[in-house]
Point group: C2
Chain length 427, copies 2
């Protein structure tokens, strides 16, 4: 079957299942995003493995005779989707609140990098892995991906709270710190493999690239956004503001990864942050929200489950449970402690730590780099990949348990009703 025909059916099945599970979850009070994650697990290799079905598989593509496979296209959609999702989180951030949160966010990020790094390396060493592999496992566990937390906080109306702002700030700083740790580790490995100055030059280059991008983003970013909107005012056409905003988000995401060597989502988040303080913000957020809720959101969240086969943990439960404990507790206590020392209350610090649990595409990319470079073995790679799935499921459930839910019931006819999750009137 033609790939453009396959994608129609696949996207229809995926978003229907994601929204059905998400909607049923929301009925019982669980976050919508959890159902969307589960839709991916059900369709993915763990349970049904839809890529196996003749309707969704492309034997010609697998054999290399076609230029693309459905699974590869869905992955690109999902990667674009997470960029749009983090752009929305940026748009939805309370900039003033965020500014106040920089201190706690910095220390939370530091704690959340150090504890999982040390813990992960120690556990890996304890179960008998070599030093090189153990250190790399530690480096992998430092990465946080807050797209799931951000979406959960958004549907819970908590993104603009003090803790919500601190989590998002800490996630950006975590990206910087985690990447530094990772490149230091890789440089050290290279140095061990082939002694010489090249390894440390690599670390230097990484740091210079990050600094360049961050300078660009914070110094020129807001100006670029203002310029974009100023030029857009001369254009006539529907939805100009959101189109320009999306283009800016994509450019920032591109530059974050291409120029800064950071995660693309960090770039789109920053673009959202800059646009959040412009007058066009209201219209843009409304349009981007319908884009993500109806299309990109379900696609991204389901894609996590679509790419991971949870069965691969079989036989390695010990390592999995230990690393999961480090991944969860390392962030909860590492981030929590950092925030608590900078004046957040105990409960707020705990919530922040929980919000930082999810790993995502950053961890998957890091792990696959380590795997292709021969730094970690296949069994360890599988375990680390399933960790991503586990942490993404743990976070929304825990947030739901720890966060006091505001019993918000929007009137059915208000424009807000479409934006906010409705709670069942008879619970």
């Amino acid at each position: 079957m033609d790939i453009s025909l396959q994608i129609l059916l696949f996207v229809a099945v995926l978003i229907l299942l994601a929204k059905t599970l998400g909607g049923l979850g929301a009925r019982t009070g669980l976050p919508v995003v959890l159902g969307e994650l589960l839709a991916g697990v059900i369709l993915g290799p763990t349970l049904l493995n839809v890529w196996r079905f003749s309707w969704f598989s492309s034997p010609a593509a697998v054999a290399g005779r076609l230029p693309l496979s459905l699974a590869a296209v869905v992955k690109v959609f999902a990667q674009l989707g997470v960029v749009v999702l983090m752009f929305l989180a940026g748009l939805d951030t309370d900039v003033e609140m965020m500014r106040k949160a920089v201190g706690p966010a910095f220390w939370a990020a530091c704690g959340g990098v150090i504890l999982p790094f040390v813990g992960g390396a120690s556990v890996a060493r304890a179960v008998g892995l070599g030093w090189r592999e153990a250190v790399f496992v530690g480096a992998i566990l430092t990465a946080t991906s807050v797209s799931i937390t951000a979406q959960t906080l958004m549907t819970m109306n908590q993104l603009r709270s003090k803790v919500g702002s601190t989590i998002l700030g800490a996630a950006v700083i975590d990206d910087v710190l985690g990447l530094t740790v990772l490149s230091v580790v890789i440089a050290a490995e290279w140095r061990a493999a082939a002694p010489g100055p090249s390894g440390w030059t690599g670390v230097g280059a990484t740091v210079v690239r990050m600094v360049l991008f961050l300078l660009f983003a914070f110094l020129l970013g807001p100006r670029l956004v203002r310029l974009g909107f100023k030029l857009a005012r001369h254009l006539y056409g529907p939805h100009i503001a959101v189109t320009v905003s999306l283009a800016l988000a994509f450019i920032f995401a591109f530059l974050a990864e291409y120029l800064g060597g950071m995660a693309a989502i960090t770039g789109s988040y920053l673009a959202g942050l800059f646009i959040a303080s412009t007058p066009a913000h209201g219209q843009v957020i409304q349009d981007v929200r319908s884009l993500t809720n109806s299309f990109f959101g379900p696609l991204f969240f389901a894609s996590v489950g679509l790419e991971v086969n949870a069965r691969e943990v079989a036989g390695r439960w010990g390592l999995f449970v230990l690393l999961l404990a480090v991944a969860v507790l390392g962030k909860v206590f590492g981030c929590g402690l950092g925030a608590w020392l900078k004046g957040l209350r105990g409960r707020e610090s705990l919530l922040l730590g929980v919000g930082m649990i999810p790993r995502g595409e950053v961890e998957l990319i890091t792990a696959s780099i380590g795997w292709s470079a021969g730094l970690i073995s296949s069994p360890v790679y599988s375990v680390v990949v399933v960790l991503v799935l586990a942490t993404t499921l743990i976070a929304p459930i825990s947030l739901h348990v720890f966060f006091p839910r505001e019993p918000f019931i929007a009137p059915a006819d208000s424009p807000v009703a479409a934006e906010l999750p409705k709670r069942p009137v008879d619970p």
Copy 2:
């Protein structure tokens, strides 16, 4: 460069250029869609040929070592985009008006199939092509693709007018008729190549498939839509209505092509038509409009230019001009005459004929089938492909010239202002 990184930059460049040209066009009063089409021509092989640039090319993909290339992914996005666009056109259709227009639409479609078929075959024969090739060229010219017209009419606020409704009805009927002609021609060719009953069995199968799909669509479609919305009411979560609608549109599009052998856009158009008469219609149309205007629309319209190299006509200008004349005049007079005989006024009939000019993905698919089957030669194939580009550019310009524009200026702060093209206050 990674494909997910390339797509970020490419989509940003594409939608910025499309919206800039579209917006500048709208300033001078031209339809937005024209600028978006031109963006594709500029980026495509005719002028810049961005696929050549190292940032957008994937040598590994071309060599077959990667499962996908950027160009292939963009094409899938565009194909999904045109399905969403025609879904929007269905949502935006005045169902009552459409019902009254069935008679004129049917005769317009008949005229618009017969004249280009006879004219195309005659011209091809006259320039010295063989009978088989000439008949196939005629069959190719019968296909209309109204996505460009629909979008132009929408931005001109004319989609729900009498002529707008007739055009959309005629497009659906044209799809049925054109496909019948095409399958009869292919069956006849096969019969000529290998005498036996199999060719005519193919025609029978094609007709049965179309009838099955159309029966399904018109008998079960509205029920399925009502059932979908009824079930969706039990779910909680943001943008449920638009998500369910999109999934229905994708399923109808899939079935139209998979079950009915028709164009996928005919299926999504019908889904839009059925949803247009439900209460959820208002919210859905608003969300789908932001989805298409900001993302899928520019991607699809630009993709027409991205796939066509207008330079390939060089040296075959005679054939090109003759076929273009048949393609344009065949629809203008064929459709116009049919509508005029059924009571439309002369001016309305002319507008209808102009609206039916654009060929699109249906023609491209048909031509590529004929080319791979050896029914048409390479030079003729190139000319036919560039015809698609020419007709898509002619239609919006002509519509703009012939349609009386309503001088609509939305107040800057009204919610409608974002939806409708603003006209410059000082023209």
